[in-house]
């Protein structure tokens, strides 16, 4: 969570990429990455200058944040026509407004079937998230005097901490002041828990400040969120107040939720240019990973290891890792060796391994299943991270897994609990991945027409399913598979497509601008879709999307909803993955051009093998998820919705 880290008071933060300063006017680059084009977003709440591009995603379980965001989303000008749809989505998911989809196609005849399928999916969802949505959807749509609410909040704030500057630029102001105040408290007492608490408080205060900034706009939009908004906003102020009062009463009431939140918030991602932390984590590490010597300056904060030696080192430790479950170990080795790649496959492999872990698990005496199993899974996860950084979808799956463990009723016996957990994993795989893929395929197949030329990049399993399904439906189309070095993932896709009798064109990404002339649709997979609409995907995706955009070819991203993430990312620098530099230094099968071989440790040569890139949402025409298709216009609001829907 880089964005989060940046905002914290940790002094050693390395600020990479676009960083918002307390300066109320965001730098000009930031506005470029806002995904709605400048000229079109005059009515949305997002172009107000104080909406910082590096937004801190609010803590999940704060329903007030959710309702706030939701209400802000509804406040988009055309919301009056869409509000019913929102409610629809909550009730019957999978429906989508055909008028909104860019291509304007009628709903396909089998969409009702899809709906029923998807709604079973959601039924499960709803159990967790019903609280939030009922809160969100219950407010009356009537005109509301929001200004009073706002004023009340302001007076509250001003009464308790006069230094907070409300209104525009409030976010920055609050943050700065909190830094000062917190540094005072830090000097006073420095127990870990308290420091943590102040951080949490700042975070909450910041969220409050942001809400202040956005609220007037929401009011201007017309549809006013009401008492729901007001009541939680008071809640929200509480921790902030606690921090400024430098609390004698802090040990009291608001401790339990704090702790809860602590559990919920993932720890900040490690910055690998922070030598102290790296050394510390090396001590914990399961196996020895020599770090690559020459790293590109801009990407020093990402882990980069000397590939090759890791595997042998890990392999030699196989029998020594007593605590490691063989299934987890196997998955780890497969990640490390690159035997399993692709978001869905990695996620399924991991969950299946966890299933075996749970099956073989027995609670040690003197411990409880809930705590011990959670700790165990955490240790396995950190091992898997060592092998390869997790994808965001895996993060979601792990979070789900842990929440299921935490929510186990204490009355269950061990066998029952284990069965329930295994069942949960099965359901996660079936409903969030497999069924989701099916729904996406149905949706997307409606977008394939006879005579189309479909372009895809790399190898995405859901895009492959779409192509095969459309082919089965008897549609006449042609496929262009665009591929790139060094992985050549497209070749495997190409082989499978050809085996099914599709007519294909294979080309490399260098030629994408030539082939784009004849393409009518671009289907792309995604590793993750972030809440600002950025698509995080295999490197090269952004390039293809931009070329397609320039040629006015619609770009459709296919992504299961479990891959949505609440994080906001503006570039692919702050969080990315670095691959083996030997992969790009070496050309397989061409010994004559391997002059770069054995030069990976040369001092004045640095290799950069990025694995992912971020596609800004303005280059994406539509995102197809299992909850429906989200087109360009309403993407903004939907992402928040989806991101929160997913993380429950």
């Amino acid at each position: 969570m880089d964005a989060r880290r940046v905002s914290q008071v940790v002094p050693k933060v390395r600020q990479v990429g676009f960083v918002t300063h307390s300066d109320p006017n965001p730098p000009p680059q930031a506005s470029r990455t806002q995904s709605v084009p400048i000229e079109s977003n005059s009515g949305t709440p997002y172009d107000s200058p104080d909406f910082s591009p590096v937004m801190i995603p609010p803590p999940r379980h704060h329903s007030e944040n959710l309702s706030h965001l939701r209400s802000a989303a509804v406040a988009v000008p055309e919301s009056s026509s869409r509000r019913p749809m929102w409610d629809d989505r909550v009730a019957v998911v999978g429906s989508y407004n055909p008028g909104n989809s860019l291509l304007g196609q009628p709903v396909s005849p089998n969409s009702s079937e899809v709906n029923s399928e998807a709604s079973t999916t959601l039924g499960w969802f709803g159990r967790n998230s019903s609280g939030k949505f009922s809160a969100g959807s219950s407010f009356p749509g009537g005109g509301f005097d929001l200004t009073t609410v706002k004023m009340e909040n302001f007076t509250q704030l001003e009464g308790k901490k006069p230094e907070a500057v409300p209104g525009k630029g409030g976010g920055g102001g609050v943050e700065v002041n909190n830094r000062e105040s917190s540094s005072n408290t830090l000097k006073a007492k420095t127990t870990k828990a308290e420091r943590r608490e102040t951080q949490e408080a700042q975070r909450a205060a910041k969220a409050a400040g942001k809400a202040q900034g956005n609220k007037p706009v929401a009011a201007a939009g017309g549809a006013g969120p009401s008492n729901i908004l007001r009541q939680p906003s008071q809640n929200r102020d509480d921790p902030a107040v606690g921090s400024t009062i430098a609390g004698s009463d802090r040990r009291g009431g608001d401790r339990p939720p704090e702790r809860e939140r602590k559990k919920d918030v993932p720890p900040p991602r490690m910055q690998f240019d922070d030598q102290g932390r790296v050394n510390k984590s090396k001590k914990r590490a399961v196996f020895n990973q020599p770090e690559a010597k020459n790293r590109v300056e801009l990407f020093r904060h990402l882990p980069q290891y000397e590939h090759g030696s890791q595997l042998t080192d890990l392999e030699s430790k196989f029998l020594e890792l007593d605590s490691m479950h063989p299934a987890v170990y196997k998955v780890g080795v497969q990640y490390l060796a690159g035997d399993v790649t692709g978001g869905n496959a990695r996620c399924i492999a991991m969950l299946r391994a966890f299933q075996e872990v749970i099956n073989d698990y027995s609670t040690p005496p003197g411990k409880t299943l809930v705590r011990d199993l959670t700790a165990k899974i955490s240790s396995y996860v950190s091992f898997l991270i060592e092998c390869r950084p997790l994808s965001m979808s895996m993060g979601n799956a792990i979070r789900f897994q842990k929440s299921r463990i935490a929510k186990l009723p204490l009355t269950l016996s061990e066998t029952e609990a284990k069965a329930a957990l295994c069942n949960d994993i099965d359901r996660f795989i079936n409903e969030k991945i497999i069924l989701a893929d099916k729904v996406i395929v149905r949706h997307a197949a409606t977008k394939v027409r006879d005579g189309d030329v479909l372009l895809t990049y790399g190898s995405s399993c859901v895009v492959e399913m779409i192509l095969l399904y459309a082919h089965e439906l008897g549609k006449q189309f042609r496929v262009v598979v665009v591929d790139s070095r060094p992985k050549h993932e497209g070749q495997a896709l190409l082989r499978r497509l050809l085996a099914k009798g599709l007519s294909c064109t294979y080309t490399h990404i260098n030629a994408v601008s030539y082939i784009m002339h004849e393409v009518t649709r671009v289907f792309l997979g995604a590793s993750s879709v972030l809440s600002n609409g950025t698509t995080y995907s295999r490197v090269g995706t952004a390039c293809v999307a931009m070329v397609a955009h320039a040629f006015r070819v619609p770009v459709l991203i296919c992504c299961e909803a479990y891959k949505f993430h609440e994080r906001v990312q503006l570039d692919s620098i702050c969080s990315n993955e670095l691959g083996d530099s030997n992969d790009i230094a070496r050309v397989p099968g061409r010994p004559d051009v391997n002059s770069m071989d054995n030069r990976t440790n040369e001092k004045n040569l640095q290799f950069l093998n990025l694995m992912y890139d971020a596609t800004p949402s303005e280059y994406v025409s539509m995102i197809i998820t299992d909850y429906g298709m989200v087109s360009h216009i309403d993407k903004k609001c939907s992402f928040f919705f989806l991101a929160f829907l997913v993380v429950c």
Partner: protein, 456 residues
């Protein structure tokens, strides 16, 4: 980790006569004054393996080995010593202890392996690919196959000895062909189907099978049950598995293919996602039907783990190897011996007594309680415990075991002298082996002979 370890300690190997006898089975031959079996056990202990089965051929040998293990590893390892009749071969030995094997995979290690390759590496490679068998191969020791090192140097026209002919796929992960023993003399035949499926095969003659295998237990047992003629793992079972890898006749229970995919639609999809995402090995490609439909052919994988050249890995299966290992363990590969070397790069036990003007060179070892007379010289040799060596004795490149008495004026080069042997005055030995308790009478000179008592 769900691995069981079986150490095949063998019995009294014929190849090693006269070094081995009823009292000293092969497993207890001293390498740097430690039984060779201890090197394997220690390596396993380092890898955190506490439970293992040691299989010994012959009741007498088993008694010796069992006695030694229980004395040496009493509270460190949990070792089960199983006795099998002599001459059943390695496959027969495993067949005999089949009912002890319960884990998912079995690691079979030869007891005469002196190596610092972590066994974990083999098992990890095995697990990673879900292989039925993973064999560790290492590079051929420099001295080659020839029995006596000196003769090889003179006879330059002779081809270097081959242990195995090993075929691998280009990624060096899968074993495609292995020829051992008698097959080496014949022309090599390679399966066309395998070659076609892989496309490219690396054939190496400079590698040898180190006799450390990880087997899938159920497959191993099935093969042993079905093919009751199979005698040796190395010459029968492994080549059979390698040969039949593309038209597998064995039922792998818990096979990733087939059964799982049939269960229901959703599992099938998730299986397909997994399969598509992973880079398929040639096995999977071959198994696929003509148009990429469900797998129609059954295959299994045979993997290899190639020990890197920096690791030491030699089997003690000939007298030459015994000499080489003894020299290496106190020489180049001295980290294996577990002793602390002195500044002169040798080990002299504090209780050993040296006469005046006696020199012990580097890469030497002198055991506990040994006595040496005046003006002796020892070079690159191992001398065991409680030996009594007279004056003016030269010991070069030799192994002298325990309780040996050597008279004045002897010269010993490139020889092995077993325990309790007695060399009277002025004996000159070159490239000889002196058996247990043999007495060499005074003034004799031998060259390249094997001297042993007649078995009663």
């Amino acid at each position: 980790m769900d691995f069981q370890v079986v150490v095949l300690a063998g019995g009294t190997s014929k190849k090693l006569v006269p070094l081995v006898s009823k009292e000293v089975p092969k497993a207890l031959l001293p390498v740097a004054n430690r039984p060779v079996l201890s090197y394997v056990l220690e390596q396993l202990e380092l890898s955190n393996i506490k439970d293992l089965i040691v299989v010994v051929e012959g009741a007498d040998a088993a008694l010796c080995v069992g006695g030694w293990i229980s004395a040496a590893y009493v509270d460190r390892l949990h070792v089960e010593v199983a006795t099998v009749p002599e001459d059943v071969g390695t496959a027969g030995a495993l067949r005999a202890i089949a009912h002890h094997l319960t884990a998912k995979d079995v690691l079979v290690v030869s007891g005469d392996l002196v190596s610092d390759v972590p066994p974990g590496a083999v098992t990890a490679a095995h697990r990673r690919h879900d292989a039925v068998v993973t064999a560790m191969i290492c590079s051929v020791p420099v001295s080659g196959l020839s029995e006596a090192g000196s003769s090889g140097a003179k006879d330059k026209t002779k081809k270097p000895g081959r242990y195995n002919i090993i075929g691998m796929d280009p990624t060096k992960q899968f074993l495609l062909h292995i020829a051992t023993g008698a097959e080496l003399e014949k022309d090599t035949r390679i399966r066309k189907s395998i070659l076609r499926a892989v496309g490219q095969m690396d054939i190496r003659a400079d590698l040898m099978d180190a006799h450390m295998y990880a087997f899938n237990r159920s497959v191993l047992q099935e093969v042993l049950d079905q093919k009751d003629k199979f005698q040796s793992l190395k010459q029968d079972v492994l080549p059979y598995l390698v040969r039949s890898q593309l038209k597998s006749e064995i039922l792998i229970n818990g096979a990733p293919q087939g059964q799982q995919a049939k269960e229901n639609g959703n599992d099938k999809v998730s299986y397909r996602i997994l399969a598509n995402a992973s880079t398929p090995s040639f096995h999977e490609l071959y198994a696929l039907g003509p148009n990429g439909s469900a797998p129609v052919r059954r295959t299994h994988k045979c993997c290899v783990y190639i020990a890197s050249n920096s690791k030491y890995c030699v089997r003690l299966n000939s007298i030459q190897a015994f000499m080489d290992i003894n020299r290496d363990v106190i020489g180049e590969a001295n980290h294996l011996s577990g002793y602390n070397f002195s500044a002169q790069n040798n080990i002299i036990h504090p209780s050993a007594e040296l006469g005046s003007k006696t020199t012990v060179g580097p890469h030497c070892m002198l055991g506990e309680g040994s006595q040496m007379g005046d003006k002796c010289s020892v070079k690159r040799s191992v001398i065991g415990r409680h030996c009594r060596i007279g004056s003016n004795v030269k010991v070069v490149n030799s192994v002298v075991m325990n309780h040996v008495t050597i008279g004045d004026g002897c010269s010993i080069q490139g020889s092995v002298i077993c325990s309790n042997a007695q060399l009277q005055e002025r004996v000159a030995l070159k490239d000889c082996q002196v058996g247990l308790g043999y007495v060499v009478s005074a003034g004799c000179e031998y060259k390249g002979e094997s001297l042993a008592r007649k078995e009663k």
